[in-house]
């Protein structure tokens, strides 16, 4: 059995909306192995983004525990969480979320800045990563000078800046046409082949089935089913 990288144990996330309680996630337990390519699926409101935020330590669970590399992160302070995010997790968002004031290169350098890495190393690392996503000739461009696909590739380069163990992608192709979306997923596949764990939220079943190795299906905040790929076929666990 391979190593676990993320473990959710009886995790609940409950929001208080005025008088009513909204159970965004309820008693979800998930084990994710290192090197897996996970797709989290479900209709909107099923809690998939909430789950991703919790795994990405952007949010804390109301109940239950989350382990990242066997470390319980459910009760850490914001600064400790920031440290973990910076070192172990790379984010890719549907809206790319690049900082508009910064060039492509500066955006990629940003996560390295918060790790206290000096400027020369930040620059060479950013150049290397932008080469990897084939944007070597767009380094000094600002986000608004780049196409959607290019922006998302900058975002991928940024997510990779600190050599994270896990890449979290929230509908990474949601704002892209099919062809550019394919290209983005190609990069994610390449990373996964090199051993990076990928967790992707999507509502596109075809996309999930084509690229993922494991699919978690959520409905109304609860886990509905887990599917594993064996060759071309899928098996429900």
């Amino acid at each position: 059995m391979s190593e676990q990288i993320i473990k959710l144990k009886d995790v609940c996330k409950i929001y208080q909306m005025g008088e009513t309680e909204v159970k965004a996630l309820y008693n979800v337990s998930i084990d994710i192995e290192k090197g897996d390519f996970v797709a989290i699926m479900g209709p909107s409101g099923s809690g998939k983004s909430t789950g991703l935020n919790l795994v990405g330590s952007l949010d804390l669970p109301t109940l239950g525990n989350i382990y990242l590399d066997s470390q319980d992160i459910s009760h850490l302070t914001e600064s400790e969480l920031a440290q973990i995010r910076g070192q172990k997790i790379g984010f890719i968002f549907q809206q790319f979320n690049l900082i508009p004031n910064l060039t492509a290169k500066e955006n990629v350098m940003l996560p390295l800045l918060f790790q206290g890495i000096d400027k020369e190393e930040r620059e060479s690392r950013a150049e290397e990563l932008l080469n990897l996503v084939e944007l070597q000739d767009r380094m000094e461009h600002y986000p608004n000078q780049l196409s959607g696909g290019q922006q998302q590739r900058v975002a991928i380069a940024r997510a990779l800046a600190n050599n994270p163990e896990v890449i979290l992608a929230d509908e990474p192709t949601g704002n892209l046409d099919t062809k550019t979306g394919e290209k983005v997923l190609e990069f994610l596949n390449k990373l996964n082949e090199k051993g990076t764990t990928i967790i992707m939220v999507t509502h596109d079943q075809d996309l999930a089935k084509e690229h993922a190795k494991t699919i978690y299906s959520l409905k109304d905040g609860s886990l509905e089913g887990v599917y594993k790929r064996t060759g071309k076929s899928w098996k429900k666990l």
Partner: protein, 404 residues
């Protein structure tokens, strides 16, 4: 840390116009402070320059009511040689000078003017004391020495075309009370208009043309121990009262001590300073509120950006640092700009005031500590104004910040 400065600077640069508008508040505040304080010191110098006759070791005795003004033909008893002798008896006098100060009819190039004329004492020591006391410097020509008759020297305004249409050069003849005098010197422009608008002539000449017998307009006493000056003033008053057989409070003369006059000047200056400080405080407060306002808006607008920074590993203190540096930079730029504008404004004001009044009394006193202090102050205001918004920004939960 340098990288955080660059990042903060980048953020401000990209908000261009808005950053400048924010800075405007601090700009105006600091400019007002620097301009007003620089001019305030100039003003103080201008006012004290007017009282250049005042010195901590000098008493001035005049007959009552006339003061420095033109002595009218009133029934007021003039000071006389006798009074001079009475005063000389007081212990501790180092020097004593008697002078005449009158308005005369002066004619030059067929143009008539009425001008103050002051006497130069007939003894060498007294003449030198006059030059020294008023800090008189001859710019053209030479000094009017004691005992030199038939010659005058002119204040700079009299010689320039301000008084007579035609400029008066050294060597020209000027008719005073229908008698010709040769101009042998012109005084350097002074801080005091009394000096700039005077004709100086020999005491005997003056008595002669004005038909003065035994009269003195002003007696100036220099004391040897300035700590005793108040006591000596009392002593002189007592002696003169005794001699004139007058009761206390009924004197027809006055003994002016420098302390009285200087304390009056200080009161005026303190009021001016208070007003200046008030205006400055208000404008800086407004500047600070402007920065706080911009930073609050900036935090609201950049929620998502804060979320992104946190998602890529920025700790609370990193975010705090960036925002505090930004507001500090706003203060810094506002401070530098304001200091420069304020200084130029002070020079501009002094230049226009001087050309309008045709003097050089309004001097700007630029002070490096003032400039440095106001820039530092602007930075501090920026930082303080930015603290709460920056703290708010740093405390944003990443998941909330990203949800937009």
């Amino acid at each position: 840390m340098k990288d955080y400065f660059l990042l903060a600077f980048n953020n401000l640069k990209h908000r261009g116009l808005r950053s400048w508008l924010t800075i405007l508040g601090i700009f105006i505040g600091i400019a007002a402070v620097v301009a007003l304080i620089s001019l305030g010191q100039g003003l103080k110098e201008a006012i004290t320059g007017q009282f250049s006759t005042l010195s901590a070791d000098r008493l001035v005795i005049t007959s009552a009511e006339t003061g420095f003004g033109p002595p009218g033909s009133t029934a007021v008893k003039k000071l006389t040689e006798r009074d001079l002798d009475v005063i000389k008896e007081v212990q501790g006098i180092e020097k004593i000078i008697s002078r005449l100060l009158r308005v005369v009819k002066a004619e030059y190039n067929n143009e008539l003017n009425f001008i103050f004329t002051a006497s130069i004492p007939n003894n060498k020591e007294g003449a030198e004391a006059v030059y020294e006391a008023f800090n008189l410097k001859v710019e053209k020509g030479k000094k009017l020495e004691a005992g030199v008759k038939g010659k005058v020297i002119l204040g700079s305004d009299i010689a320039s075309s301000n008084t007579f249409d035609k400029k008066i050069e050294v060597g020209k003849q000027i008719k005073i009370q229908d008698k010709d005098f040769e101009v042998i010197g012109i005084l350097k422009k002074s801080g005091s208009f009394q000096v700039n608008q005077v004709i100086l002539m020999n005491e005997e000449d003056m008595k002669d043309i004005l038909n003065i017998k035994d009269e003195i307009d002003i007696i100036a006493v220099q004391v040897s121990d300035k700590d005793r000056i108040e006591d000596m003033a009392e002593e002189i008053k007592r002696k003169l009262r005794q001699d004139r057989n007058q009761k206390e409070g009924e004197e027809d003369f006055s003994v002016q001590t420098p302390v009285q006059a200087l304390s009056a000047i200080n009161t005026i200056l303190n009021i001016i300073n208070l007003i200046v400080t008030g205006i400055a405080a208000i404008s800086l407060l407004i500047g600070g509120i402007g920065i706080a306002n911009t930073m609050f808006t900036s935090v609201l607008e950049r929620r998502k950006e804060i979320g992104i920074m946190k998602a890529v590993g920025a700790k609370n203190k990193d975010v705090l640092k960036i925002f505090v540096i930004e507001s500090g930079l706003l203060g810094l730029v506002g401070g530098i700009g304001g200091a420069l504008i304020g200084l130029s404004l002070a020079y501009l004001t002094s230049f226009s005031a001087n050309s309008a009044l045709n003097t050089d009394l309004f001097k700007v006193s630029p002070s490096v500590p003032l400039l440095v202090a106001s820039i530092l102050f602007a930075i501090i205001i920026g930082i303080i104004a930015g603290l709460i918004p920056s703290y708010q920004a740093s405390k944003l939960k990443p998941v909330d910040a990203l949800r937009q």
